[in-house]
Symmetry: C2
């Protein structure tokens, strides 16, 4: 299946009544700092506090009734888990979420809140995948992958579609890249009309290395505060990103925390570190963004306020 803008348009129709059209915010202070016009798409104000609500609803509602009847499962460090739990609840089917033991307490609480069952495992990708495989074999349920899935990709892309429609004459877009669901979806959504950049922590630079070498990195040892971006770039995601992304921009941990502080103190928005990599990338690359109208996606706002990096 070759993915295109049409998949994103189909996704929007499917999920429209279950998600928010999130607002776009601006700050004259941040514009001055970046010497550009920045438009922040507030997906931290989305249902479950993250853009992941989009892909999960799209994937769960794309199942036929037979497939859906046995329920759904996934593995997730947090936001995708809550999103699948919520989507299952909306559809009235059971959900099981495999969660690494080091996941944030706030994210585990959100999953439980939506009535899903949590299965804890070690924090490696291998442990997550094997726990999920055991679960699926036991329950005979459907897997909703966190990012490496056409319906998930198309669903996340609806955030980019909205942003493109909400801001007149946008010059480019920047999204964080972890597994690559959002970046790939946004690339489909803009359909070549404007360039889309990925922003990634240098401590989890698999997408950068995959993109620059043309060969997908299959595993890595991420070391970043941006807990939503520790996953490895997906196969389907990489195909789309390799073909269409303008560039992948790396940022340091210090740059992430600085950008996060700016978003908290200037925009007054509570966002998680993963949301700050885009602003960090824009501030780091003035030669790319100066004078342009830049769309940035604030991906999520689920933080443990008792454990902040500043």
């Amino acid at each position: 299946m070759v993915m295109s803008l049409q998949n994103v348009l189909d996704a929007r129709k499917r999920i429209d009544s279950y998600i928010h059209t999130t607002q776009v915010m601006q700050s004259s202070q941040l514009n001055d700092l970046a010497d550009a016009e920045l438009f922040f798409k507030c997906e931290h104000l989305q249902k479950v506090g993250a853009f992941k609500a989009r892909g999960a609803v799209n994937a769960v509602f794309a199942l036929d009734d037979d497939q859906a009847s046995t329920g759904v499962a996934t593995h997730s460090s947090g936001n995708h888990g809550a999103a699948v739990a919520r989507a299952a609840k909306l559809r009235g089917i059971p959900a099981w979420i495999v969660v690494p033991e080091n996941a944030l307490a706030s994210k585990k609480a959100a999953i439980k809140n939506y009535g899903a069952e949590i299965i804890e495992c070690a924090s490696t990708l291998e442990a997550r995948e094997s726990s999920l495989a055991d679960l699926v074999s036991d329950k005979q349920c459907q897997v909703v992958p966190p990012y490496d899935d056409n319906y998930v990709i198309a669903g996340q892309g609806t955030a980019g579609l909205e942003l493109l429609e909400q801001v007149d004459k946008l010059d480019c877009m920047v999204t964080p890249v972890g597994g690559g669901g959002l970046l790939a979806g946004c690339l489909l959504a803009v359909d070549g009309k404007i360039p889309v950049y990925g922003a990634e922590p240098a401590g989890a630079d698999d997408a950068y290395r995959s993109f620059t070498t043309g060969v997908r990195i299959e595993s890595h040892n991420p070391n970043t505060i941006a807990d939503g971006l520790r996953t490895v770039l997906g196969v389907k995601n990489f195909e789309i990103i390799k073909a269409h992304a303008e560039d992948i921009l790396l940022v340091t941990e210090e740059e992430i925390v600085f950008a996060m502080t700016l978003i908290w103190t200037r925009l007054k928005q509570v966002v998680e570190p993963s949301s700050a990599v885009t602003l960090a990338a824009v501030l780091k690359n003035p030669e790319v963004f100066r004078g342009r109208r830049v769309g940035l996606i604030l991906t999520g706002g689920n933080v443990d306020v008792g454990n902040l990096p500043f």
Copy 2:
């Protein structure tokens, strides 16, 4: 001069082009928790990050050219200072701000950012007032009082006026009360159409004691995390509050921090402790607010993110 709704309407005309019409936010989780419909007026997204932008612009632009020519001065622990500095800059006149030495660094930085001169003093009301008196005698400038002033009161009231227009069938309104500018202004704005409650830290309960005894408390020793509410209720403010407020509701420090955490994690909004007393009061008094459509004013978002209470 007897103050009325007309003063607030006049203020709106005067300040309209210099301030934001701030949005109103809702959270289904917070509605469930309160068993009421809560409408949060986002004055932390106002210019200078606080409703104080309103009163300051109204007072500074109400001066005639002769009065304005020598500049303006005030004393403030922060938001009003930044607001006066900004209003003076907009009008193109100098400003001097007396700031207690224990004021937050972020608030002092904001004042300097708008080009005003900061004069530091001890943190007592007496020290602030005597520093300001010296300054005025030296510079022959106009004082813009932080709250005990008809133009300031009318300006702050425009926040309540907007909220009343933005939310259909609002049943009541809750504002924090410190010096009483916002509460008094909102009482004028609603003009008896709905009840307005003040919410106050128990550790700075001068408005509560003044309201319940009918005699204004003239000084106190506040002990509260809500740094914006440590001031003593003003004379003009008290007259309006005594005549029109429905009640003053007290909350503890623990209740303030809990409500602040809810606003940060559910609404995803960065607000200062003073902003959280209203939600704390609503959660504490279900017999008053259950089932009602309640407007709450989030008054400001200027916090030192490196020094948070959780």
